[in-house]
């Protein structure tokens, strides 16, 4: 096998795209945190990206089939870590999602994404039916649902929701009766209002309300959306220039180096910058999908598509939030937002995609 792997087979295009996106991210983090307490964030991000490339390389080295074989172990570890987060986790902003000290901590739920990708790939590649039967679907949904619920009660609805597209795309690819899909949608439509009152926390309900009408709550998350839209709009065609955006520099944007980084980017780089950045994301996504299409087996295809689904969902929800077309869920923009766990987890997943690519000529 090793003979088939060479530097030439590496997905260089993907690496170039990723580097470009990360570079834009670092630049924006630098610009958004000047004169704040987070001034070191940009070079810390650089270190995380460097760590990410190492993670990517590691994720490439070990044959993904070997990894798939260990899914049960990973899954068990994930559940254990998530439970441990409750016991020894660090509470920041009223949410217990981190392990470590307030200044150095990792977010296990980010790495669980990776396990979910592997889990779905393993489960579906072993499935021997033409279409997924309801019973099997429930089994898989249950496996994905357990960590999801654990994350949801941290509470971190945003991250928990990112597990759904991995499952959904997997199921879609595996084949599924559309009647079932309709039925599930109907049930979700019925359950949603109930869970809105019973499951969602006050602040989450507030976010839904302010998504539907930002002016209702101009000081909470509605404020964030309004300020984000002002920042984006003020950027206009060419942007206001790096470190020149008043919305970003005046801290009118909430956490402009994290969840609202694309808003800051849109203010300072304008529509042109937005097209370039979204173009890079789109090309990256297509490159991942292309790897899915050339995968040597189903498992590889599911892995790539799981990662693609996750990336697409992240971009949709985060960037949609920035322009007020999605509710504020508090999930980061992969590869751009400042934050270690998210970067390393994303790079690990890209490593898996590369892993699949390097092993496409098997048989």
């Amino acid at each position: 096998m090793a003979a088939h792997r060479s530097l030439r087979d590496f997905d260089w295009l993907m690496l170039i795209l990723v580097s470009a996106i990360c570079g834009l991210g670092m630049l924006q983090i630098y610009s958004a945190t000047r004169d704040t307490q987070f001034t070191e964030a940009w070079w810390k991000q650089g270190i995380w990206i460097f760590a990410g490339f190492i993670a990517l390389w590691i994720g490439t080295l070990i044959d993904y089939h070997t990894l798939l074989g260990q899914v049960a172990v990973f899954y068990g570890l994930s559940i254990a870590t998530l439970v441990a987060t409750f016991a020894v986790g660090t509470t920041i902003f009223g949410s217990r999602r981190w392990i470590g000290s307030p200044s150095y901590h990792i977010q296990p739920s980010e790495f669980v994404k990776l396990v979910i990708v592997l889990l779905v790939a393993r489960y579906l590649s072993e499935y021997k039916g033409d279409r997924l039967e309801l019973r099997d679907l429930f089994k898989l949904a249950g496996l994905v649902g357990l960590p999801m619920i654990l994350v949801m009660i941290q509470p971190d609805l945003g991250t928990a929701l990112t597990y759904v597209p991995i499952l959904a795309v997997g199921v879609f690819l595996a084949g599924f009766r559309w009647q079932y899909a309709v039925a599930i949608l109907v049930i979700v439509a019925l359950v949603a209002p109930v869970s809105y009152w019973l499951v969602l926390k006050d602040y989450q309900r507030q976010r839904v309300v302010s998504f539907l009408d930002p002016n209702q709550d101009p000081k909470g998350s509605g404020y964030q959306v309004i300020q984000s839209k002002i920042a984006v709009g003020a950027g206009a065609l060419w942007g206001r220039g790096v470190t020149k955006g008043t919305q970003t520099q005046g801290r009118f944007l909430p956490v402009p180096q994290k969840d609202f980084i694309f808003s800051a980017f849109a203010e300072e780089h304008g529509f042109v910058g937005v097209i370039v950045a979204l173009g890079l994301y789109f090309l990256l996504l297509m490159q991942i999908v292309q790897n899915a299409q050339t995968a040597s087996d189903r498992a590889g295809m599911y892995i790539c598509m799981g990662v693609a689904a996750l990336l697409l969902f992240h971009v949709l929800v985060n960037v949609g939030m920035v322009v007020g077309r999605m509710p504020v869920t508090g999930i980061p923009l992969p590869l751009m937002s400042s934050g270690g766990s998210n970067i390393v987890a994303m790079f690990l997943m890209l490593g898996l995609v590369n892993n699949v690519r390097l092993r496409r000529f098997v048989n």
Partner: protein, 646 residues
Amino acid sequence: MKLPIVREDDPGANTLLRDDPKFASQKIAFFQYTAIGVFLFLITGFWDLQIRNPEVYQERALENSVKSIPVLAPRGKILDRDGRVIVDNHSSFSLYLSRENLKMEHLRPIAEGLNLDYDSLVARVQRFQSRRAPTYQPIPIKEELTPGELAFVDSHKDLATFPELEVVRVQHRLYPRDGMAAHVIGYVGEISESELDSPELARFHQGDIIGKDGIEREYNDQLMGVDGQKRVEVDSFGNERHVLDDKEAIPGKSLQLTIDLDLQAVAELTLENRKGAVVALDPRTGEVLAMVSRPAFDPNLFAGRIRSKDWKELMDNPAHPLLNRAIQAQQAPGSTFKPIVALAGLETGAIDDSFSVNCPGGASFYGSYHKCWHVHGTISLHRALVQSCDTYFYNVGNRLGIDRIAQYADMVGYGHKTGIDLPHEAEGLVPSSKWKVRNFRERWYPSETISVAIGQGATTVTPLQMASAIGGLAVGGMWYQPHLVKDAAHLPPARRSEINLENLGKVLSGMCGVVNEGGTGVRAHLPNVVVCGKTGSAQLVSNAALKAGLKQTQDLKDNAWFVGFAPRDNPEIVVAALFENGEHGQLAAPIVRDVIKAYFDKKARLAQPLPQVTRVPSGLLQAPPPVASAAVPPTGVSEDATAVNP
């Protein structure tokens, strides 16, 4: 694409076929189209905001981050003639509401947080809004912020709470205590709505602090600076990030008055707890050395926006503390009018030195009896002035007739404004036959002249007019316009009258006798300087009314006047004092004396050489121990020490 048909009973083929990753390529294509859809959906979002109407958002970003902060120009100081500060400023903080991001619903919590009356705050904001002033002009809502209020503002001025709050450092007016010189200085206040409507004040803006009375009003343009403005970029916490542009304020110019604080203080003290006025002039220039009106008010109450309670109290006070009695009290001059009548008699030839009258304590004219305050016997001009004999002047007046009296009263400046640089000066009244016809459509009866001759009847003058009139006579018939500002430009030339100086000398020596020859003004006598003057007691009600049983209450007691100048030759100061309800002019004399004394005491003090200090011979300091002197070479210090010694 056709999926391979797989049979359940063929596991081998199944595994192989099922592991073909191409089985889902159609669905992957669907995923790709979905991705394209998602990206287009997102891009249209940016298109909407950034391309279709970016101006809206650019403006809102500007609203967020740019604040206009007024930079208020401090008013000029007001100094006395020696350059001592009378009116200063002190630094304080005022709270403004920036109108660029003002929200009406914030007013209630702001009012509660700062202990303001909500309704009047709303009314004020609406008043400012209604005038269509440019929105960068913020609305001042509270002055002299306490540390507690500053803390409230600081913790609430962020964008999400009350971004309209803005603290501006201002220079507040600081006036002397106890109402000293209050009427001269006047006060400042916020420009009122009616003032804004008047054409001469239309150039000011709402919220401007302008001079409302006194010097503050008269010289407002000089004292008032030009406010600047600063546009700053702020962050979401309301903290200044950097200055976009800065139009600096031009501070107002200082103003030097002719007032002498020493004299002013003495005059204030002599009038303490009385109702009246004192005016001291330099008759050689018209400079006002002191001007006091009592009761006074505290101009510090007005320094900003006066509270309505204080205002009401001042307005309702029966003693009218806001009235500047020195230029606004129009009272009958009483006997102080006699020198002018005497001069008129001499000048017109109605009387001469030999003219004398017998005073049996009164005389009858035109069928009615006029009393004198004393029985003087046979009396001529000099003694009539010294003793202030009414009977004598009844006769002089009767010989002169009203119009010749009026002519000379007019000559000394009675009946028209002196033109002093203060607002609202009263002009007094000099009755004449013309005046009678014009105002009453009736001819003047000679019987009415009798009481005018002793300064009663319709005649009224202000203390300033009196000081100016007598001062002008004292310097030989030259009337300089009274003024309060040292470098007064555009002063009209002195008014000169062709008076026979011999006649004038007779009148003035009569006034000298009043003080120095046992006359009615002996209380004004000073040992070192010859004071001349004239008392006056002006009745507020006629004797007839008193006889009719009207009780003589405090308010109806006679006004006491004294006007004096010194020295006899080349007078340097003339002082007029009005002591309302003081009953007799003799009581006003000490007031004038004290002010004149203060003037000459100060002059003597300044003329005196400074006391000699015994010089310590320098040799004593320069005798170091012989050993040290040999060892230490001459240094800069020791050289300096020698240089000091002559």
